[in-house]
C-alpha cells in the first residue's frame, strides 16, 4: 500500500536532497572551473575537509540529541596549544614566537593526553547541562571562552612552530599517496555511521533528541546519553585539533576561530535537524563535502576574500531555511487527524482535552 503520494515524495526529497545538490555542485564547478576535477585539487578539497569533517561528526551527534556544542572550536585550540607546549623545547618568548614548557614529552604520551583532555571537557559540558540543569547554549559558549582564554594564556598569544614528525603524521602524512587525515576521517565516518544506525547508543541518541520525556519513560537514561554525546564531541574536537596542528606543524593562536558555524552548517546541510532526533552521519558527510567543495571553488574563482564570508553566510542561511521548512511542513502534515474508516457513531465522545 506504499504509494508515492505527496508526503512520501517530500519525505524522500528531504532525506536525500543533499545528494542531488552535491551532484549538481560537482557538475557545475567541474564544467566551469578549470582544473577543478584534477586529482591534486580533489585531494586538496579532501584534506581541508577532513578537520571540518571530524568536527562535524561530534556536532552532528550533539544536534541529533537536540543539543549544540559551541565549545568544540575552543577545544581544538586548547588541545593544539597544549600539545605544542608539552612537546616543544623551551625558548624565550619574543613577539612572534613562543617555545614549549621544556619537558619535551614524547608525542606518544601527548596524543592520548590531549584526547583525554577533550573527553574530560566534554564530560564537564554534559554534566553541567544534564546534572546541573544548565542551558546547553550558554554552558558551551562560556566553555569556549574559557578554553580559548587558556590557550592564549599558555601560548602567550604567539606561534609555537616545529612540532615533531611523529605527531604530524595524522595531519600531514600520506599512505600510498593518500593523506592520512583523509583516510582517518573516512574511517571515522564509517565507524560512527555504524554506531548511529546499528548500535544501541545511536538509538538512544535519536530517542533522547526527539523527545527526552518519552525516552525516559521508555526506560532510557537521557542524562547518561547526553553526557556521553558531549564526551564523544570533546574527544573528536581534540582529534581535530591534533589533525590541524599536524597539518600546520605549528600552533597558531586563534586556531579554529569561527569554525563552529561552518561545522553546524555542514551538519544541517547534510540533513541533521537543529530540532533533534533525526539526520544521518552519511548525510552529514555529504554536507561536509559540499561545504569543502564550495570553499575550494571560491578560492579557485579568486572571489574577493572580502566577499567570501558573505557567500558562506548565505549558504548557511539557505540550509537553515530548508531545515526550518522541513519541520514546519511536518508540523502541519505530521500528527494530523487520522482518516478513520470505522463508521464512528455520531454520538461518540469527543477526543478533546
Amino acid at each position: 500500500m506504499q504509494t508515492l503520494d505527496r508526503h512520501h515524495l517530500l519525505e524522500f526529497l528531504s532525506r536525500h536532497f543533499i545528494w542531488v545538490v552535491l551532484i549538481a555542485t560537482v557538475l557545475v564547478f567541474g564544467l566551469t572551473i578549470d582544473g577543478y576535477l584534477r586529482i591534486s585539487n580533489i585531494t586538496n578539497i579532501l584534506i581541508t575537509g577532513s578537520v571540518l569533517g571530524v568536527m562535524v561528526i561530534g556536532q552532528a551527534l550533539c544536534l541529533m540529541a537536540r543539543k549544540l556544542d559551541l565549545s568544540a572550536e575552543g577545544t581544538v585550540s586548547l588541545v593544539a596549544v597544549t600539545a605544542a607546549w608539552l612537546m616543544l623545547p623551551y625558548r624565550e618568548t619574543d613577539l612572534a614566537q613562543a617555545g614549549g614548557l621544556g619537558i619535551e614529552l614524547d608525542p606518544l604520551i601527548v596524543i592520548p593526553l590531549i584526547l583525554l583532555l577533550g573527553t574530560v571537557i566534554g564530560f564537564v559540558n554534559g554534566f553541567m547541562i544534564m546534572k546541573l540543569n544548565m542551558n546547553f547554549f550558554i554552558v558551551t559558549l562560556a566553555m569556549q571562552l574559557v578554553l580559548r582564554g587558556l590557550a592564549l594564556a599558555i601560548s602567550s598569544g604567539a606561534i609555537m612552530p616545529g612540532t615533531p614528525a611523529a605527531f604530524n603524521w595524522l595531519g600531514g602524512g600520506r599512505v600510498a599517496g593518500i593523506p592520512v587525515s583523509v583516510i582517518a576521517t573516512i574511517g571515522l565516518y564509517a565507524v560512527f555511521g555504524f554506531v548511529m544506525s546499528r548500535m544501541q547508543f545511536g538509538r538512544k541518541v535519536y530517542a533522547v533528541g526527539a523527545n527526552e520525556d518519552a525516552a525516559r519513560a521508555s526506560g532510557f537514561n537521557p542524562a547518561r546519553t547526553v553526557i556521553l554525546v558531549y564526551m564523544v564531541s570533546g574527544f573528536l574536537a581534540a582529534l581535530a585539533g591534533w589533525m590541524l596542528l599536524g597539518r600546520l606543524e605549528a600552533s597558531v593562536p586563534n586556531l579554529g576561530v569561527g569554525i563552529t558555524l561552518n561545522v553546524v552548517a555542514a551538519a544541517v546541510i547534510g540533513g541533521v535537524s537543529l530540532k533533534g532526533g533525526e539526520g544521518s552521519i552519511i548525510g552529514a558527510f555529504a554536507g561536509v563535502l559540499f561545504l569543502a567543495m564550495v570553499n575550494n571553488a571560491l578560492n579557485l574563482m579568486n572571489v574577493d576574500p572580502l566577499w567570501v564570508n558573505a557567500v558562506r553566510g548565505l549558504i548557511i542561511l539557505v540550509a537553515l531555511v530548508i531545515d526550518a521548512q522541513k519541520s514546519r511542513y511536518r508540523g502541519r502534515a505530521g500528527p494530523a487527524e487520522p482518516k478513520v474508516k470505522t463508521g464512528a457513531e455520531p454520538n461518540q465522545k469527543a477526543a478533546l482535552s
Binding site: Q200, A210, A214, R216, Q348, S353
Partner: protein, 527 residues
C-alpha cells in the same frame, strides 16, 4: 438575576466534528442577560469545543450564533471579543512582573507633556477603575505578588474594562482555598448585579449549586439539558452527566487468587496519604479521582518517575522501589502515560524503534550491536497481534492515527512482559474502533495473568472493564466499588469522585455536606 426571556446569547444547532469523532452534535445553548450559567460534563463531553466555538477559535460545521438577537455572520476571535464575550482561563495570563496598574492600562498608558509615562495618572486612573468595580487591590503591586483569587478577579476586571458582557470562567476555583472562593464569588455576584453574564465551567458540583442560576449538562457532544438550579438536585445532575443507558462492554473476570502488587501505608507529602491496596494476578482494577486527588502522582511514583515516599510496595512479594522507569520495567511494572505525545511515543521515530525501545537490552549482541532480525520479528508480531494499522514498521509514528499510536505504546509495554500494567486514560483521544481494540488488548493481557490498574475518568468504561474500582479524593483512597458486591453504580462512583459519600446519594438529599467540603491544601480541579 436575568429575566427569563432576556436572552443575551443564543447558540442554535451547533455541530462540529473531527475525523472519527463528533465533538458537538446539534447543540442548543443560551445565556440570559445577567445570569450565571453553569456548564458541567466529563472531560471530552464537548464543553471546550462549545466554548471554542463561542470564542471564535473553532469554526462550527453548522449552526448559528446570535448575540442580543443579532446573528453573527462570521465568528472570529476578534468579532467575539467585539461582541463582548471574554474568556478567563484556569491559568490566568497576565504580565506577572508588571504592576496591577500597568496590567490594566497596558497599551494605553497615559503620557505627560514630555511624552513620558505619567505614573501618577496611571496609578490614579487604574485605582479609580477598580474602585468602580468594588475591587480593592493595591495597583502599585506587581501582579506576581497577588493571590490566585486576586489575579482571577483582576482578569475579570480587565475583561469588563474591555466592555465584556459575557465572561467565561473556566475552572476558576481550581487552585483556591475556601476563603478565596467566597471572595471571588461575591465579586462575581456584584458584577452580575450590574448585568454582566457569566458562563461557569466547573467539575465541582457543589460550587455550581452555590453560584449558578441555571446549569447545562453536556455528554458525548450533546446538550443533555438545561435546568434552573432551584429545580434540580445533585443526584439528578449526576444522573444527567453519566447518562442512563447500559455500557456496551463488559468483560468476564480473569482475576486469580495470588497478590501481585501490594501497597502498604504509602504516603508522600502533598500527593497521597496512607494508600493501601492489592492487585491480584489477572485482575483489572479501576482507579479514579479528580486532578489533585493523588491519582497521577501515585501512578508516576509506582513507575519510578517520582519518589514513592514512605510506606512499602511489594511486587511479587519482594520490595519494589523503582528509581527510574528502567527499574520499574526490570521489576515487572509498566506504565502507559496519559500524555501519549509527551511521554508515550517518540513521534519522529519509526514504529519499529518505538516498539523495541523498552527491550533494547535484549536485542543487542555482546558488542552492543542491534540484531535486526529479532527486532523485526518482535515488531511484526505486535503489529499483527494488536492490529496496528500502518503501511509498515518503518513508518514514522506521528503519521499513525491516535488509536494506532496508542497500540504502539501498548506494544512497547507488553514487550517487557510486565506483571503489573498501569494504564492512564488508555482510551483518551482514540476512535471508537480503536477503543474496542484496546478493551480487547486489556482483556487479553488480564487473561495472560497481568494485573492491570486502569486510571480513568470514564466511569462507565471502568464499570465494564474492572473487577473493582477504587476512588481517590484528596490524596486518600476514599471508596471502593466491586463487581462482586454489585455496587458499581455510575452515579455513586461519580459522586465519590466529587468527594461525596454513597449514603448521602442514596438518601437523595443534599449530598455534599459541609464536612466533606474540600480542604484548601490539596484541592485542585480537573483540567
Amino acid at each position: 438575576m436575568g429575566r427569563k426571556d432576556d436572552i443575551l446569547l443564543d447558540m442554535r444547532g451547533i455541530s462540529k466534528s473531527y475525523p472519527g469523532v463528533q465533538a458537538l452534535a446539534d447543540a442548543d445553548f443560551s445565556v440570559r442577560r445577567g445570569e450565571i450559567h453553569g456548564v458541567v460534563g466529563k472531560n471530552g463531553a464537548g464543553k471546550s469545543t462549545l466554548m471554542g466555538v463561542l470564542m471564535g477559535i473553532r469554526q462550527a460545521d453548522s449552526g448559528s450564533i446570535a448575540i442580543d438577537g443579532t446573528a453573527l455572520r462570521h465568528a472570529s476571535p476578534q468579532t467575539m471579543l467585539d461582541a463582548g464575550i471574554s474568556y478567563v482561563p484556569q491559568h490566568i495570563n497576565l504580565l506577572n512582573t508588571l504592576t496591577v496598574a500597568e496590567n490594566i492600562l497596558v497599551g494605553n498608558l497615559p503620557k505627560n507633556r514630555f511624552g513620558l509615562v505619567d505614573w501618577k495618572a496611571v496609578n490614579d486612573d487604574s485605582q479609580e477603575r477598580l474602585k468602580r468595580l468594588g475591587l480593592k487591590l493595591d495597583v502599585r503591586l506587581p501582579v506576581e505578588g497577588l493571590s490566585v483569587a486576586e489575579r482571577t478577579m483582576l482578569a475579570i476586571a480587565k475583561a469588563l474594562f474591555n466592555n465584556a458582557r459575557l465572561i467565561i470562567l473556566d475552572e476558576p476555583t481550581a487552585a483556591l482555598a475556601r476563603g478565596d472562593i467566597d471572595l471571588l464569588f461575591s465579586f462575581v455576584r456584584a458584577q452580575q448585579e450590574q448585568g454582566v453574564a457569566f458562563i461557569y465551567i466547573s467539575h465541582h458540583l457543589e460550587e455550581v449549586f452555590e453560584i449558578c442560576d441555571r446549569v447545562t449538562v453536556m455528554r458525548d457532544g450533546h446538550i443533555v439539558g438545561t435546568r434552573e438550579i432551584s429545580e434540580i438536585d445533585v443526584p439528578e445532575l449526576i444522573h444527567m452527566m453519566v447518562g442512563g443507558g447500559v455500557q456496551e462492554y463488559e468483560r468476564e473476570t480473569t482475576a486469580g487468587a495470588e497478590t501481585v502488587l501490594e501497597a502498604k501505608n504509602l504516603s508522600r507529602r502533598g500527593a497521597y496519604e496512607q494508600i493501601n491496596f492489592k492487585l491480584r494476578r489477572g485482575e483489572v482494577v479501576g482507579l479514579s479521582g479528580l486532578q489533585g486527588s493523588g491519582v497521577d502522582e501515585l501512578a508516576q511514583a509506582l513507575f519510578g518517575l517520582e519518589r514513592l515516599g514512605v510506606g512499602e510496595v511489594l511486587l511479587d512479594g519482594g520490595t519494589f522501589d523503582p528509581d527510574s522507569p528502567r527499574d520499574a520495567f526490570d521489576g515487572g511494572l509498566a506504565y502507559l502515560p496519559q500524555d501519549r505525545h509527551r511521554f508515550g511515543l517518540i513521534q519522529l521515530r519509526p514504529v519499529r524503534e518505538n516498539v523495541t525501545y523498552s527491550v533494547l537490552d535484549r536485542l543487542v549482541s555482546r558488542l552492543g550491536v542491534l540484531m535486526r532480525k529479532p527486532e523485526q520479528q518482535i515488531t511484526e508480531a505486535y503489529i499483527e497481534k494488536l492490529g496496528i494499522v500502518t503501511p509498515g514498521a518503518e513508518q514514522r509514528t506521528m503519521l499513525l492515527s491516535g488509536g494506532n499510536q496508542q497500540k504502539v505504546v501498548f506494544a512497547k509495554l507488553a514487550a517487557t512482559q510486565p506483571k503489573v500494567l498501569i494504564l492512564h486514560e488508555p482510551t483518551q483521544g482514540v476512535d471508537v474502533q480503536a477503543k474496542v481494540d484496546i478493551f480487547n488488548i486489556i482483556d487479553d493481557l488480564a487473561a495472560q495473568g497481568v494485573a492491570l490498574l486502569v486510571i480513568s475518568s470514564e466511569v462507565r468504561e471502568l464499570i465494564g472493564l474492572c473487577d473493582r474500582i477504587l476512588v481517590m479524593y484528596e490524596g486518600r483512597v476514599t471508596d471502593e466499588f466491586t463487581r462482586a458486591a454489585d455496587n458499581m453504580k455510575p452515579e455513586d462512583i461519580l459522586l465519590a469522585i466529587e468527594g461525596g459519600s454513597r449514603s448521602a446519594a442514596a438518601n437523595g438529599s443534599a449530598a455534599l455536606t459541609e464536612n466533606n467540603k474540600p480542604s484548601p491544601g490539596i484541592r485542585k480541579g480537573v483540567s
